[in-house]
């Protein structure tokens, strides 16, 4: 039982063993928690774990308050991410590819989380398939990546095209951009699953966070010293 301690804060039970079990402390989902709750959770994780501590989906006012409360945090506004104790960069390259400018916030979250957990992350924006040359221009970079994260809303076709170009793992993030038949991201999610490109995997709508964590799982397997 020693192996999996849980820290009970009353309103939350921190899974302190997650860091040892999975190579990363619990990540805090911001919405629905008070500043005081987040503050207590972050402090607890900083004290009892040793790796990076992240809070996702935080608006700037909350971020400012938390940074005052707990020293050492940095805030990425576009990504809405708060980070304490980021991991040092490892030689594992992740390329975040976003179809349109409206997909930027989701791509930014993927980029910021991946960076915070130590992945060597780069990004390219606005390479939707209606102008194929834009994605073909970055083909060499895509082929040189260890993982590609494709962020696309609307019909999500970029995931299939990229999936057909590279041999590495491709993680597709459907976004809720678009209107009407886009059904707030459900169309892109379904289309990415129905993709004709073999071996693509998909995460939840708008979840740049999930894609980065999936890349983290792969990175750990590749070069992680357990």
């Amino acid at each position: 039982m020693n192996r999996r301690p849980v820290l009970d804060l009353g309103f939350a039970r921190l899974d302190l063993a997650r860091e040892q079990r999975q190579g990363l402390p619990e990540v805090v989902y911001g919405p629905g928690k008070t500043d005081a709750q987040i503050s207590a959770i972050v402090s607890g994780l900083l004290r009892h774990n040793t790796g990076p501590v992240l809070v996702t989906r935080v608006e700037s006012a909350t971020a400012a308050a938390l940074c005052r409360d707990v020293d050492g945090g940095t805030y990425d506004q576009e990504a809405r991410l708060l980070v304490w104790r980021p991991a040092p960069r490892r030689a594992f390259s992740v390329m975040v590819v976003a179809a349109g400018t409206a997909d930027r916030p989701v791509a930014a979250e993927a980029h910021a989380v991946a960076t915070a957990v130590g992945l060597d992350t780069s990004a390219v924006h606005d390479v939707g398939v209606a102008g194929l040359d834009r994605i073909l221009q970055v083909r060499a970079e895509l082929e040189a990546s260890d993982v590609v994260i494709v962020v696309a809303g609307m019909e999500g076709a970029l995931a299939s095209v990229v999936g057909g170009l590279v041999r590495c793992p491709v993680i597709a993030v459907p976004t809720s951009t678009g209107y009407g038949a886009s059904l707030e991201g459900v169309t892109a999610l379904l289309a990415m699953h129905a993709s004709c490109a073999a071996g693509i995997t998909v995460v939840n709508i708008d979840s740049g966070f999930s894609a980065a964590m999936a890349a983290h799982r792969i990175a750990q397997q590749v070069k992680g010293a357990r």
Copy 2:
């Protein structure tokens, strides 16, 4: 009232004025009609109209019976189409582009109907976006077409890619190929509507017929002598 005669067969009311109004007689949808009913409708249209007479979605046994019954019909098995009095070919080129081999029957229907109404139709198969070179190889032919019909199931991404390559009208036909998240064509239909390629239009799932008729409407407008 003279302008729009209707022929009442009891079980059906033939819109004889459609040929004059829209440049083509009524097209008969086969399913749910008896051989005798189809036979009577075809005969009526042949007698009272002068253009091509088509019956869609006909199985071979029915086709054989109808060809015995009404002289001059020809049957395209893959397209499941019966045609009497096909229109002479006009100088309007339609290219049918199908993503996968499983989309062939729908592509075949588009091809056969377009041909029967006089369009100069060609086809290319199995050019899904997971291997972009396949579609890029036929780029010149695509650019030379008056209309491109894109037939694709699963995630339907081919429509966006083709839409970005050509300047002519692109008519997308979602198909019910695929399984699971393909939702029997609904995913492809939604994805094609959410496409990032501007000015693509979409017809019903599996309806090669509708795409061909849409091409016919365009062709009429371009070079048709009313």
Copy 3:
């Protein structure tokens, strides 16, 4: 590679070759972009392309700012469209037919975009099928059009009725007007696809823009000097 230059603005990659490839520069979708970003994109397109530059779905405050920033722009408030360098009018007639007064904004977008790209566009409003005489009264104008764009929400029945009256291409735009069973336009979209009028095509919900672009593709094919 010379044939398809891309202008990289960092936050966006402009597909400058689109004008040559498709007869029209990229159109900018306004939502989710800052004024500065739109301004930079518009300036880039004006400098590197020669045709009309359009920004869709722009609210009036943004429009005013952009018009101050980049000379020569005009704003259509009902259509929420910004235009620089509109194309000269060509002899290709497009009629926009709207079912109800609530469909006006979508019809206005179709009208304004079609006009901006040089089509000879007219409009008629409030001709829903519950009073058939209203649409029958404009039958002659409909029959004289090169393309008809039908804008309708609720059950979208106007598309089927118009589709049965004219021989030219009919592009249906479902709108999100209505409530309850209208499901924010999904019902009209599905109904238009299931239409009994052959050869109708459909674009995304509320996308007057897409319909105009589809008309532009047809117009180019008909009378365009490539």
Copy 4:
């Protein structure tokens, strides 16, 4: 308690008071019941009630067996309806209007049930809105009816058009004809609800029976001698 007797057959509890309460005995839904069960229910209703006894959705083999078992039954194969003791015809006219030939079985059920309960029923088929003249030709008959039942699948637009033509009650029956975007009748059902024609009412998909019963309720109110 005398007012609402129930006959308990073990496998079924007959609501014998329904005839007095609602002007018609229980109608038996055939599917999922054995021949013996249907036979017992029909016999019970014939003995304890005095009005027409109906069994819906019966295939011919079952119908033949039941007619042998219980004297006096007649079977309408297209409507799949079995009737004992039909009601005498009353001066209440119901017109069943079907959009396409594929809608015939549903229209036939509406027609047969309405006739069996004593309504003066007529029918017209194949008057879909893609050829408006067909429905306009029967406008006088429509206007002379006490109730119009509109049977239509696909996009269901006929309901809106008829709703705008007549002043009497219009009962719309969506059917599962069509494919793809028709969603087995759900699209027509939603579209009929979203109709722009005021005061149309809708019944379940493929339920000619429900429409006839709704007409019966109206007829009872109008001229019924309670």
Copy 5:
């Protein structure tokens, strides 16, 4: 053509013949129209027609402005209905039955519209089936009505129960009250269609207006002097 004049206001085309054709002038749907537009439409209908003029879904500020603009209007705030020239009451009784207090606004619209077109309307509230005695207490009134309108959200069970109690036409109005599995009225709409009570008809979610108009169609048929 004399029979069906249309008044073209530019932004709207009034179907002036509707009054003669259907026994009631066009009813104006308020949302999405400016005060000036509504005012012009109302004035046009008052001048060219003779029956009641109704505007639905009007908020109080708009109502006040319109009443100042066009003399003789009265406003029902709960029903959000504006009425000019209401019809005299006829001997046709409509009972509006609402399941819960949250359904009141929809019931109020049904009540106010039915009253405005001359029906003798009454209402009973809060008789949901979880306390059967409440609905059984008003059984006599229900049985004495010419039409019953059942307004219910959540699971919509009241429609089935009332449908089984009375012989007259029952018009069910699903409402968007409830949360979660209520799916904003879609569940009630589907449930009312799937009802085990024969001959119930259904109108759109939250549309007290449609139910009243359906009652009006029946009333016209019963006692209307055409």
Copy 6:
């Protein structure tokens, strides 16, 4: 670890501790398993556990084979249930109430499973709410039950009505009976969740088994000697 042994059969891992943990051995879901697999599982459970062994959804041919293979089994054809070593009846009464005769198989499964696990089970059929007297007639029995299981398809209104009549736990089982708007049980499931009767709980569509198991959980709590 001693407390929770698992028996590994290769193709299946039997959770032998479930009997001790939950008061009942694992129940075997028949579909998708070969006769040999079921036989091995049943034998394993009979040997290593002491309570009743059940196999659900078994067709008669399979049942006959299994009864030959493993002594002591009995088969209930309507319920499609195989039972070995049924539990002795306890003084805990469960009443299964089914809305229509088409709901019988689901009701039969609930009845047979509840009986096999030792509950004192009775049933009443065909008491749908369109004839309220049928359910009111059995009100006393309902009030005397420890648990009521309501089995209903279509709109599922019986659950609300029963929920309002009794004080004991009510477990609602939506069934896939009905057509069209019934959406194969989804409508009833949603409607039961949206029910206005407080404290009703719901199980999966057509799962008489789940309802019986839920009753078993309650019965254990009430009078079970742990």
Copy 7:
């Protein structure tokens, strides 16, 4: 008729017999009612019934007003619950288990309602299955409960895990927490129904109230002295 009096307040009809029939007065659903209406209902129930009076989903401003209006009320802000005359605690233990901190308001409603009707309620938070040790740590408390209420959004997996751990009744409450594929609680609701843990029951999305009422029904059966 004496047995089931109804108090008619005009805008509402109080089912005063519910307390005798079901062991608890009507519970008032706050949204959509004015303060004055709630006040009148509460006063009526306090006067004519003897048990606890509850108002759910009340915001604090309304709560304050009502407490001023009707003496003796207490308000639980997190649960948004108002209570008058709470029931004395009985020896029936209910454990509310919530997967994440975002599920707290729903869990709080379940806890507060269960407490108000006299159940001995406790709660544990933040025990989602991604860190199994957290739920396994409270296994003994779970096993000692008379009923467990599981509150979980997102994928709702906690219900299956708890269902497999305990023998007592498990009532699952899906919540609308999460985004994207969570579909505002619909995914959790469906997943809980499809659970592999036998005998779990489910209530409406976010309805802590329903779960508590279901527990109350069980408690009454177990130890209630009617």
Copy 8:
């Protein structure tokens, strides 16, 4: 152009460069192709590529015919997979974990495809979360794997639980097992996306193939010599 040859078979265009581009020849999806077509494709790939050639979803009769036609094929009946020239096993371990016995065919496909492309694959079955000990018993093997593929239908909760136990990549495959609320796998797909376990990725319903290909992408990245 030399880099990406395409072999045109008329009915199909083989993407011969895929092997070089992605490390594996095209995989053939069997359904919808004739034996002769599959045979020609397989022969083409064997001749022009050097890696393993796979045909998925093949029934036994077809498999037998193809093995006669093209030497060297082996068939796995449970996985419905045909393989020629399987890759030698590499030191990359994949563990396939299936929730129930009904998920076996999908798990078998994942297992067979992964083995055919050279991964060191093992499997464990019937470890659903209703009996947690079953999955906890194999925890050490899970922790030792390079990738875990979780195959689960119904509510798909196993993916969350495994995702919380291991640090390596977890690929979730929803299956169409289950009935009712399982919605043929859509519920499991959505639930897996909404999972509370961070960094899980998901592939299409029933697609063991996709999961294996995703594992292959990861394996290539980890130890592949490009």
